[in-house]
């Protein structure tokens, strides 16, 4: 059962930050609550003060500018990202990722910012955003700062937020030309947390088709979303073919240290990293070639 707490529902970012500063370390932010209520109900998380930011209307937006890229307010619900024509057009992989994020009911209430701040290495958005080279805007009593999504996750369910800070915006740069990005995860049922997952970005040189850059990010393979840098090295600087993508999967598999639970052994997950890196990379390469 959820323990008692004092409840606040600020209407602006400033009000929320004021509350965070006042109850430094004693308060927790709740947004959509789709992950947080689960851990609270299981008694894994208790808090004295609960700050419900779902009512901060100013943090619910999707903005796009070719130069600046995509900006998503932290309180934008998953379903809005999934269905956004702008995102479907320019950042298709984000929409595809959202299609398999939990159930429609959850997507209709859960927020992108809430998902990132929960810090679950099995979460779907972070690996895709890291592949997209995205940044986060954090607001605190000392002002705003920008951080790479890759730097945000610190440990299992732990993120780089100061006690008086909150996430306000996700910033996704427009990908370089000739870039393809794709994500794949192992689901037994649609919308499951990935048993393992992979997001891959491949940028090709338009002249010779050589892989200029590759970013490979794994979900549920470590305590944080994991950059498979060894696997990336396998690809960068080469003209890509199927066997290189298979090799990248094999290298990524050695970099992963996945958990063991009722959904699979570590050995099985390592085998699956091979499959899903290869599948995501194959799709990313196709897209890069088509771009």
């Amino acid at each position: 059962m959820i323990g008692d707490f004092e409840y606040f529902a600020p209407k602006t970012v400033d009000e929320a930050i004021a509350l965070l500063s006042k109850y430094k370390g004693e308060a927790k932010i709740i947004a959509g609550g789709q992950s947080m209520l689960v851990v609270m109900k299981r008694g894994l998380l208790t808090t004295e003060y609960l700050i419900d930011i779902k009512g901060i209307a100013a943090l619910d937006y999707i903005k796009y500018d070719e130069g600046e890229g995509l900006r998503i307010g932290a309180l934008t619900i998953h379903r809005a990202i999934e269905k956004s024509p702008i995102i479907q057009k320019h950042f298709r992989v984000l929409s595809e990722m959202e299609q398999n994020l939990a159930t429609i009911q959850t997507r209709n209430w859960g927020t992108i910012g809430g998902n990132l701040c929960h810090g679950d290495p099995a979460g779907d958005p972070a690996p895709v955003l890291i592949a997209l080279n995205a940044k986060l805007k954090l607001a605190g009593s000392g002002g705003e700062r920008i951080i790479e999504v890759e730097e945000f996750s610190k440990d299992y369910l732990e993120v780089a937020l100061e006690p008086d800070e909150m996430l306000t915006e996700i910033q996704v740069p427009t990908p370089l030309s000739h870039t393809g990005i794709a994500c794949e995860k192992l689901m037994v049922m649609k919308g499951d947390m990935g048993v393992v997952g992979a997001a891959v970005s491949i940028t090709l040189s338009p002249k010779d088709g050589v892989c200029k850059d590759a970013r490979i990010v794994l979900s549920n393979c470590a305590s944080v979303p994991l950059r498979a840098r060894g696997a990336e090295k396998k690809l960068i600087g080469k003209v890509l073919n199927d066997s290189l993508l298979v090799e990248a999967g094999e290298v990524a598999s050695t970099e992963a240290s996945p958990p063991v639970d009722v959904h699979g052994s570590a050995e099985y997950r390592q085998e699956m990293v091979k499959v899903f890196v290869r599948r995501a990379a194959t799709k990313a390469l196709e897209r890069a070639k088509a771009a």
Partner: protein, 782 residues
């Protein structure tokens, strides 16, 4: 156009469910919705150990907590024990000396709020001496293994040894003999409504109990004995029951004892509601079973003999295990002819939560094993799966004849052949089977199976269902029954039967909730028994009321009663329908003309008991059912050969012989959503994972069940056999179709991949390693 069956006014065609409006509008009140003035909240204190001696329970700190009104422990029940039957009473309301599974209840608290009750539970200090436990039957059977019950040597809970014919001789004469081991896992019932109850004492020796119980006359009897009350003073008022999903929400839980005891102590109503966590850690589960099956067939694939050795994990207490093991054995002689059969069953106590009945009870395990093995043998013989089934299927007996199996199971109708033929035709089986479909890393396959289930279950005692049809003076009707609709639609079907017999409309009949103070006693909702037996009671009660009214009409028309008919609310003389009057007028005359009658029709079921006697569980002889449903099914799967993920596609067809579909859409939805999806789920997804008695996935995220995305929509074909022992020819609907899904899917996976998954469920990792091993084997051969 909806399909209709038979030439009837009410039944045999689509009808709205009588409870639909109340459920959709929220008017229907479930146990957890009940609020009473002065009501207290109860909470259960549970053991963290799976096996431990209780040295001391100190409740003093809990009692001192402000807001706590009463605390109870097992000692308050003065040694009372209960069980499924007299000889198996081995369970206390709360453990007093020893806990036998994790989270077994040891005490309970009533307080002014849920929070205080929970806090008080934390203040109860229980001193345990942890004991080594046994966590599967193979540990339990070891010599010197810790005993779950000190008085049950070897941890044996149930043991049966039956022999019919001569299996050894038949094996020696067989062209092909095969032995395989199959495994079925422990599964959750998965009902949405968790156990919930409100109890109070209107007088010092009068108990009122409103609980989420599928069979209200179970707690009626058990609580009378527990609190030493005459049955007349135990009033069980049945709220609406949340979908049961074949979970048989009958047996007592800790809350069902805690609420009455705490209410007695405090003099106030006490309510307890389980969470899904409580349910998924402590409620009854389907038995995990290990089935060794040896079968002999002729060159032509004709079954000669089967030997089955079934080993089951019964869990901490006996519960329904004697019946489970009987059902696991008895069904081996149908739906195929089997001349020789031997069965050895061993059910062991373990320190896991107790196992018990679940949709497809017992048959589910052994029919899975037999129907997969049949495909294996068909392949060895070069026979098509449909062909081998048709060659062995029991023929539908001639009208008036009864087929008897070697173990004394009787059936007057058997539509299995027709089911098999219909499914083969609808799926274009031969064509479909020949085309091997591989698309990238996806491989497709189709599998076949046939199954059966007993309907109108009759156990050794209190078999009859009863009904009262009260015709009000304005022509409307109150229908009183002791039978409970737990979601299967029996209220609608019983009302429809009564309406059909009386010649009125379904809307004229108002069904009352069960209230043991007013409604007739009833065995309960289990064993697919309600439509067959409560349906017969409805028929008999309606006929009794009709007879009384027809007598009045005969006087009015100056004809004999035989000449009077009632149809569509019109009463008329059969030979001259011009002489008629409306139903309302007849009722009015009957009630108002001197001396004025009170029309009450009474009836009870007799079929189950009188036709063929009762089954002998220990010898394995005889009928547990009144009649038997049959099913055939073809299912298509899509296997991701790189990951092992299996999906069941929409290309699936079931043909179901439920005798006669009284309410065809109810039969179809019951078959689809109720049992087919549950069967697919059993084949592909569901399993409680355990570690030393601890349930590792006690939530509906980690314990996987298909959602709408994964639930394929199967086509349901009706096979009508008009069983003479069912009301209007009806048999059970849907338990059989729960049993046919797992073998069909496993056979389909083999068709797609060439890999046999013999232990359910076919979860991805299991399939993946099996595929990998197959690949490595092939490579070695090269």
């Amino acid at each position: 156009m909806e399909e209709t069956f038979g030439n009837y006014s009410v039944i045999g065609k689509a009808m709205p469910r009588v409870d639909a409006r109340a459920k959709v509008t929220g008017e229907a009140k479930y146990a957890a919705d009940i609020e009473l003035p002065g009501m207290l909240w109860g909470q259960i204190k549970r053991s963290p150990y799976a096996h431990a001696r209780i040295l001391n329970i100190d409740t003093s700190k809990a009692e001192e907590l402000p807001g706590v009104k009463a605390v109870t422990t097992g000692k308050d029940f003065n040694g009372f024990k209960w069980g499924w039957s007299g000889p198996t009473r081995d369970e206390e309301p709360f453990a007093t000396t020893k806990v036998r599974y994790q989270y077994e209840g040891v005490a309970a608290v009533a307080a002014i709020s849920e929070d205080i009750a929970e806090e008080a539970c934390d203040l109860i200090e229980v001193e345990y001496e942890p004991l080594p436990g046994v966590f599967d039957p193979f540990e339990a059977m070891k010599e010197g293994a810790p005993l779950v019950h000190d008085n049950r040597p070897g941890n044996i809970c149930v043991e049966y040894h039956w022999t019919f014919g001569d299996v050894d001789k038949a094996f020696a004469e067989s062209h092909l003999v095969r032995e395989d081991i199959f495994q079925t896992p422990r599964m959750a019932k998965g009902y949405l409504e968790t156990p919930a109850v409100v109890a109070y004492w209107p007088g010092p020796d009068r108990l009122v109990f409103q609980g989420a119980k599928g069979s209200p006359y179970f707690p009626y009897r058990i609580l009378a004995r527990c609190f030493n009350l005459p049955l007349s003073n135990v009033r069980v008022i049945q709220p609406f029951i949340g979908s049961d999903f074949g979970g048989t929400k009958n047996d007592m839980t800790h809350c069902d004892f805690a609420a009455p005891m705490l209410a007695k102590k405090t003099g106030r109503p006490v309510k307890l509601v389980y969470t899904q966590f409580d349910t998924l850690t402590t409620d009854l589960r389907r038995h995990p079973m290990w089935i060794t099956i040896k079968t002999g067939v002729t060159k032509d694939g004709i079954l000669k003999a089967t030997y089955v050795k079934a080993i089951a994990d019964g869990g901490a207490y006996t519960r329904m295990s004697p019946l489970t093991m009987f059902l696991t054995g008895t069904c081996m002689t149908l739906p195929y002819e089997l001349p020789n059969f031997k069965f050895d069953a061993y059910n062991y106590f373990t320190n896991n939560p107790s196992s018990a009945a679940m949709r497809g009870h017992g048959l589910y395990h052994s029919r899975f094993a037999a129907d997969v093995q049949l495909d294996m043998m068909a392949e060895e013989l070069g026979l098509d799966p449909v062909e081998i089934r048709l060659r062995n299927a029991i023929e539908n007996p001639e009208p008036g004849k009864v087929y008897e199996t070697i173990n004394g199971v009787h059936m007057a109708t058997c539509g299995v052949k027709e089911c098999i033929e219909k499914v083969a035709e609808a799926t274009n089986w031969e064509e479909k089977r020949k085309t091997k479909k591989v698309e990238g890393h996806k491989s497709y396959g189709i599998g076949f199976s046939a199954a059966t289930y007993n309907g109108g279950t009759k156990l050794s005692a209190h078999n009859a269902c009863a009904a009262i049809v009260r015709v009000c003076e304005d022509g409307s009707i109150n229908y009183l029954t002791g039978a409970s609709d737990v979601g299967q639609g029996s209220d609608t079907v019983c009302c429809a039967i009564a309406a059909e017999v009386l010649g009125v409309g379904l809307e004229d009949i108002d069904i009352k909730r069960v209230d043991t103070a007013f409604t007739p006693v009833d065995p309960g909702s289990y064993g697919s028994r309600v439509t067959v037996l409560a349906g017969q009671a409805a028929m008999n009660a309606a006929e009794d009321a009709k007879r009384q009214l027809v007598e009045v009409a005969a006087q009015q028309f100056s004809v004999t009663p035989e000449e009077v008919e009632i149809k569509n609310r019109q009463v008329f003389v059969k030979s001259n329908p011009q002489r008629n009057m409306p139903w309302e007028r007849l009722v009015r005359i009957a009630c108002y003309e001197t001396p004025g009658k009170v029309i009450i029709g009474r009836g009870y079921s007799t079929q189950g008991i009188t036709i063929l006697g009762l089954a002998d569980l220990s010898k394995g002889v005889g009928d547990i059912g009144t009649n038997y449903s049959f099913t055939a099914q073809a299912a298509e799967v899509e296997v991701d050969v790189e990951t092992g993920v299996v999906k069941c596609t929409d290309n699936s067809v079931i043909a179901h012989d439920c005798g006669f579909p009284l309410n065809p859409p109810a039969v179809e939805t019951q078959v689809q959503g109720g049992s087919y999806h549950q069967g697919v789920s059993a084949a592909l997804y569901e399993e409680f994972k355990m570690d030393q008695g601890q349930t590792l996935n006690p939530n509906l995220i980690d314990y996987m069940r298909p959602r709408a995305y994964e639930a394929p929509m199967t086509k349901v074909l009706h096979v009508v056999t008009n069983d003479p022992y069912g009301p209007f020819g009806a048999k059970e609907a849907s338990e059989g179709s729960c049993c046919s899904a797992p073998p069909a899917l496993i056979n389909a996976i083999y068709d797609a991949t060439g890999v046999w998954i013999k232990d359910l469920p076919a979860q991805p990792e299991k399939v993946f390693w099996a595929l990998k091993a197959q690949k490595e084997k092939k490579q070695r051969k090269k």
